[in-house]
């Protein structure tokens, strides 16, 4: 499988998915008006992936349009995990950003994957 690399813009995050290492990074801002289109390549890649996955979510902002797509990404990962693979999600949030921590906890409550909440010190 090929690596997926999407460079970040002011409205969309950097996405790096390396299937060989089983590493996924989503970093930056995710506030596009049309997020389905943006997340489609990643959702498609995860669809055809099987193996362990270490996932880092390092988002500064995300809109509610992205929140559905991020849930889709997590659901794909949940499926990968239920096929017997180790999957871990590390949810990074800035020290004083309670809203971002809470957003991570919302996903944690919905998705059956171990979450690690990691505080980024300023």
């Amino acid at each position: 499988m090929e690596q997926l690399v999407i460079e970040g813009t002011p409205k969309t995050p950097t996405i790096k998915f390396n299937p060989e290492e089983g590493k996924l990074l989503i970093q930056g801002r995710s506030i596009p008006e049309n997020s389905i289109e943006f997340y489609k390549p990643l959702v498609d890649s995860l669809d055809s992936y099987s193996g362990a996955a270490k996932v880092d979510i390092v988002l500064e902002y995300f809109n509610t349009s992205s929140s559905k797509c991020i849930l889709d990404v997590f659901k794909k990962l949940e499926k990968i995990k239920s096929d017997g693979n180790d999957v871990e999600i590390r949810w990074h949030y800035e020290e004083d950003d309670e809203d971002m921590l809470e957003a991570g906890e919302d996903y944690q409550a919905i998705i059956n994957i171990p979450f690690k909440m990691i505080e980024i010190e300023e």
């Binding site: 509610t64 929140s67 559905k68 950003d97 919302d106």
Partner: protein, 181 residues
Amino acid sequence: MDINIFDFYNRMEKDNIMLSFKGNVTSELLTSVLQIMESKMETLNEPSKVKKKVYNILVEALQNLYHHMDESSEELGVEHNTVIFMISKKDDTYCIYTGNYIKKQNAERLKARLDKINSLNADELKEHYKEVLNNGMMSEKGGGGLGMIDIARKSGKKLEYQFQEVDEQLSFYSLNISVAQ
């Protein structure tokens, strides 16, 4: 022409308007407005917590307008497919005002949704958000009704709204969101 721009200026000055816009909302416009507001808040040395909250709520409020225009352009017609928004700061409170035309039959549905959101406390809002996130139908462009719940959650205030009757078909919907520090 009877417009006195000085009156406009004074009115906006009195109401502490930082930014206002009336017209068509495009993706590029939203990008610019968000950048302007971000740098204004930077200049005002707002704590990062405040910047984030205001920015987040602004994204949802403006994208609501964007999607509304996108979805209703045909049924509203050209002359009613423009919107207005304003952002003010007085003392420590930021206010975001938005306004747009809406078909009367859609206004009733929207009002019911807003009233439902306003009837919930913080914990109930959190549950409602998760429920809609997990089970709600996603619209073609994403979202799907999460925006207003998110605004209510993050602002920590009830949604202040108004529907003004325009004619038999149309109402004008205005929303005031205040974000206190």
